[in-house]
């Protein structure tokens, strides 16, 4: 369907632009345009009939704007009613109420008169846009908040976790997976217990239908979920400093950073970990090949770094196809909160 400013005829579908929206009607004559409600302008706001199917003249309908008429495609012409039937359908509904901006508005009305099917392109497009929006969500929690009660899904992963002999590592793995279940259900509406999980030859767990990435450090776990490829990495600044590694960042930079990265990141623990976690996250996003930090240039990747706890304790990086949609959530007990974060270099 196309819209053209042209002379209108009996039974035409017409519309007029009011601000950012369109008001639709069925044209009968210059003195009779049938629409569901009056145009959404301030002067009609208090009129009792403003949300009723009614007939107005062209001046009232247009509010001084140009009236456009619908030009139907070949297939639409085959489906539409004759002008006489269209006008008959519109007139039969005069006086009807029950206006609803989402489910029963002026566009639904004209489509029902013309095609016998109530539909609204604005609603359909908005719904499609919401359902197909890119998702890149990161969830952060404390390992100690997960009690390790109950089994995780799938059973193979549960067995793997239970067989881990290191208590701290087992707790981190359990927390990672429990947080993944929460993240996948919450962000992607995934039926987690029906998800097809498998392990790659390199031992990495993958899910059918979405991508995820896990990381833990310094008592915290981070999980990233997305409909597209995603990688996450978290590192403790304190642990890095404890290992005296921060005193050697110049040597580490020389060895592992590309020339671009050496220019982009100043010396110091925080910038070093920012770049390093981006490398890890990018490696996880790619999901293949070996980890060769020296050849992986993070200045050319879609990655973001920030302080996971809002303080200078842990640095978290995410690399994702949908990095523009990045959202960060903190989880404490049952409370999940959308967090503000500040990107760091």
């Amino acid at each position: 369907m196309k819209w053209l400013p042209a002379d209108c005829s009996f039974g035409d579908t017409v519309r007029v632009r009011i601000g950012s929206v369109y008001h639709y009607g069925i044209f009968v004559s210059e003195d009779e345009i049938i629409a569901f409600g009056l145009p959404p302008v301030p002067e009609y706001r208090d009129r009792p009939e403003r949300l009723t199917v009614l007939a107005t003249d062209a001046d009232t309908f247009s509010c001084g704007s140009i009236i456009e008429k619908a030009v139907f495609s070949f297939s639409e012409k085959r489906k539409k009613r004759t002008p006489a039937k269209t006008v008959e359908a519109a007139r039969s509904r005069i006086g009807e109420t029950g206006y609803n901006i989402i489910h029963n508005n002026c566009e639904h009305f004209v489509n029902e008169c013309v095609f016998g099917v109530a539909r609204c392109t604005v609603e359909e497009e908005a719904r499609k846009r919401w359902l197909s929006r890119p998702i890149c969500d990161v969830y952060i929690a404390k390992i100690e908040d997960f009690s390790q009660n109950g089994a995780v899904y799938p059973p193979e992963r549960d067995r793997e976790i239970k067989e881990c002999r290191n208590d701290a590592l087992r707790a981190a793995k359990y927390a990672d997976w429990a947080l993944l279940a929460l993240a996948a259900k919450r962000s992607l509406a995934v039926d987690f217990e029906k998800t097809g999980f498998k392990k790659t030859r390199r031992g990495r767990w993958c899910a059918g239908g979405f991508d995820f990435s896990l990381s833990h450090a310094a008592g915290s776990v981070a999980v990233a979920v997305s409909g597209d490829a995603v990688g996450v990495d978290i590192e403790s600044v304190r642990d890095f400093e404890k290992k005296k590694a921060s005193e050697r960042t110049d040597k580490l930079r020389e060895r592992f950073f590309t020339e671009n990265e050496r220019s982009a990141y100043p010396d110091g623990a925080l910038p070093f970990l920012s770049c390093w976690t981006k490398k890890e996250a990018e490696f996880k996003r790619r999901g293949r090949g070996g980890f060769d930090p020296a050849s992986l240039d993070t200045t050319k990747t879609d990655a973001a770094s920030f302080l996971a706890d809002g303080e200078s304790e842990t640095v978290l990086s995410v690399s994702a196809d949908a990095i523009g949609a990045l959202r960060v959530f903190t989880v404490k007990g049952d409370a999940v909160r959308l967090a503000e974060y500040q990107k760091i270099r």
Binding site: P40, N100, I101, R127, R327, L338
Partner: protein, 80 residues
């Protein structure tokens, strides 16, 4: 679902319906003047709420909501 969970979910929707910034909200936040929602953003928000909460705004219009608490009350009523 608790009222706080509904508000938290609404914050996410409002961030997505707006420019991505996480809004600071309270019960008496005005959708238009405090949160800056245009009529199109309002429509998008209502559709997002339908999808996220599994409810249908079939007996009310988006223009019937002035405050965030109006939206929360409506969702709470629908979820009962």
């Amino acid at each position: 679902m608790k009222r706080e969970e509904i508000i938290e979910k609404l914050r996410e929707i409002l961030a997505a319906a707006g420019d991505g910034t996480v809004p600071a909200v309270s019960d008496d936040s005005n959708l238009a003047t405090d949160l800056g929602l245009s009529s199109v953003s309002m429509l998008y928000m209502v559709i997002a709420i339908e999808e996220e909460f599994g409810i249908r705004f079939d007996d009310v219009g988006a223009s019937d909501f002035a405050l965030l608490s109006d939206v929360v009350d409506y969702i709470e009523g629908k979820l009962k």
